[in-house]
Symmetry: C2
DNA sequence: CTGAATCCAATACGATACTG
DNA sequence: CAGTATCGTATTGGATTCAG
């Protein structure tokens, strides 16, 4: 579990948004943040059910990372059985506009699919 | 019987923006797209110089991927020595607002740094 | 110059079993 | 329930070399 330093400078001087991408768009973080932002506070199992293809181990890792980055909060209730609730933080909620802008780009996914079909087609006929 | 599985089992269904993240924010794609969008058409070496920490192999891989997705165009000039120019496509240019929204979140990076410091500090004092 | 080919290391991920 | 521990695998990226 590595966390790139926020103060990272050298590699991506060419791209000022790279640090944000590392924090917000690393693997699995998008579904997690989206779920918490969309459906509110949830327990571990609820998140796991919603993102069924992730393993508990990795889900835990990503949740810890997001908690450490201050994007979500973790509340432990010492009951039997134990209950843990995750909730998006205020900082995490500030990502809303970003997600909205992303979602607005969705119609272009069809163009990507077309481009891929074209590219693969031309590659197949060796027109390069 | 057909019933396409529309259950919320895949990350994509739990998070509609996941496909976009895969395309736009996979590794190295952000600096590449940013450079081409910001500084215009560039040759392979220019990109390589700008993103100095990437190896030629990986740069080539990522450029091919972006070309296949229709986000950039590749122009080969059969000269000696050969000259290849990469340019952002119209589809790629449509990512501009997304990048702008990302950039606007930059001030929050300080909060992430603070959150990390807090988290690491509390972990060190075993207050968990 | 623009890559392709090959080999190698790191590590992230999945599967499984187990605990408080 | 909410994880942790351990192991094995698989993908990815880096280093190096070479070619059209």
């Amino acid at each position: 579990m590595e966390a790139p330093e926020v103060t990272e400078t050298t590699p991506e001087l060419a791209c000022p948004i790279a640090p944000i991408v590392d924090i917000v768009f690393s693997r699995w973080t998008t579904p997690i943040l989206w779920s918490l932002n969309e459906y509110g506070r949830q327990r571990f199992v609820e998140l796991h059910r919603r993102i069924a293809t992730i393993t508990p181990k990795v889900l835990t890792q990503r949740l810890r990372q997001l908690e450490r980055d201050g994007l979500i909060t973790r509340t432990y209730h010492a009951e039997v059985p134990p209950r843990v609730e995750y909730e998006i933080s205020e900082l995490g909620r500030s990502l809303g506009p970003m997600f909205a802008t992303l979602a607005e780009w969705s119609p272009n996914l069809a163009k990507v699919a077309d481009a891929r079909a074209h590219y693969d087609d031309r590659s197949r006929s060796s027109a390069r």
